[in-house]
């Protein structure tokens, strides 16, 4: 389960460093709350839910931090375009995923990468199945567009 959780974390965060941090926080929270895990429910779904909740909470804080940070970095790297480019070298898929709004990104990851059924994914996210379905459709369309799979 841990490798899969880590994959989900890296997918959400868009890079292994942040993904591993998220993974670590999730495990710590799970250990601290393990008495809240209910018998008869799936351990993996519970872990995924902990992780995505943490990610949503963190996201609000990180977005603010990153906005300041990026502005600063852009200022420092004026006149050294080459270096800047290599620093942000990401694969097409990574970049396309980062373009997606968080709710679409997690829906796409849960269903298309982790292989959860719509109902299970909706339970992890904590939204109705219909909502998950439409996020998924929008996310998928955006990816098809970004990755040029759409003729």
């Amino acid at each position: 389960m841990l490798p899969r959780l880590r994959r989900f974390a890296v997918g959400l965060c868009g890079n292994p460093t942040d993904g591993d941090d998220l993974c670590q926080m999730s495990i710590e929270r799970a250990l601290a709350n393990r008495d809240k895990w209910q018998d008869g429910t799936r351990l993996d779904s519970w872990m995924y839910r902990i992780m995505r909740n943490l990610w949503i909470d963190e996201g609000r804080a990180t977005t603010r931090r990153r906005e300041t940070f990026v502005a600063e970095e852009a200022g420092l790297s004026v006149g050294s375009e080459g270096a800047q480019e290599s620093a942000v070298e990401l694969s097409m898929v990574d970049r396309a995923m980062q373009e997606l709004p968080p709710d679409q990104r997690e829906a796409v990851l849960l269903v298309m990468v982790e292989g959860y059924a719509y109902k299970e994914a909706a339970e992890i996210v904590g939204c109705p199945v219909g909502t998950l379905n439409s996020r998924l459709v929008r996310g998928r369309d955006a990816l098809l567009e970004l990755l040029g799979e759409k003729a």
Binding site: P3, R4, G11, C23, I27, L31, R34, V93, E149
Partner: protein, 230 residues
């Protein structure tokens, strides 16, 4: 009937009712444009899973795995402290086989053992556990926990298990689950975070000697269960 974007996506994900699925399949077969959309969705899905698959194959970074290893306990008893130290020293002897089964360690670290096991071949109760219980899906109240699964030199599936009254390794042959090794039961965990005690360490070390390769990961375990461990 009209086929929506949702239908196409749900069709590709296998989420439609069989009745609806048949209708969409017929519509897709009759319409090259719909077929093209289905192909695009399939290609996208394959690209995404292909892109993210290697991450799950990578070894889990030590910092993460370390969260699930035993923490030095606050001890009052020097004998217990020494035993704990020794227990920890046994970890590296079997750690390589447990690596791919790191999925197991999360479940192990979260929950505590209970239960029992017999001799010769596994009794129906234990056999039931060995047949059905996957490391990744173990319940906290399970009498017997599966530590990991592997194939031995003969290619038979073997599973190391642990309970409060007994632990051991059983391999599936034509007759049933043959008990290849038996150890003492775990005496209850000294710390909630403990991954494996000394007796489990012995069992895991024995598993490592018997194994013909690393332990099965969650997917391989599921497949082995589906084929009846044969």
């Amino acid at each position: 009937m009209t086929i929506s974007q949702e239908d196409i996506a749900a069709y590709v994900d296998g989420e439609l009712s069989s009745e609806r699925e048949a209708k969409v399949a017929a519509a897709v077969a009759a319409d090259p444009e719909l077929q093209r959309q289905v192909d695009a969705h399939r290609a996208l899905k394959a690209r995404l899973s292909g892109h993210f698959a290697p991450i799950a194959e990578e070894p889990v970074p030590e910092a993460l795995a370390a969260l699930l290893t035993p923490k030095p306990a606050e001890v009052v008893d020097f004998t217990a402290a020494r035993e704990k130290r020794q227990a920890r020293h046994t970890l590296p002897r079997w750690s390589w086989i447990a690596g791919p089964a790191i999925a197991a360690t999360l479940a192990l670290a979260l929950f505590l053992p209970r239960g029992g096991a017999p001799e010769g071949y596994a009794d129906p109760q234990l056999a039931g556990v060995l047949d059905s219980q996957l490391v990744a899906e173990q319940q906290p109240g399970a009498d017997t926990r599966i530590l990991l699964s592997f194939r031995d030199g003969d290619g038979d599936f073997c599973r190391a298990f642990s309970g409060s009254e007994g632990s051991g390794i059983a391999c599936r042959d034509a007759t049933g689950w043959k008990l290849e090794a038996l150890g003492e039961g775990s005496d209850g965990a000294a710390t909630d975070y403990r991954m494996a005690g000394a007796s489990e360490g012995d069992i895991l070390e024995r598993a490592q000697q018997m194994a013909d390769g690393p332990a099965l990961d969650a997917t391989a375990e599921e497949e082995a269960r589906a084929s009846g461990w044969r």
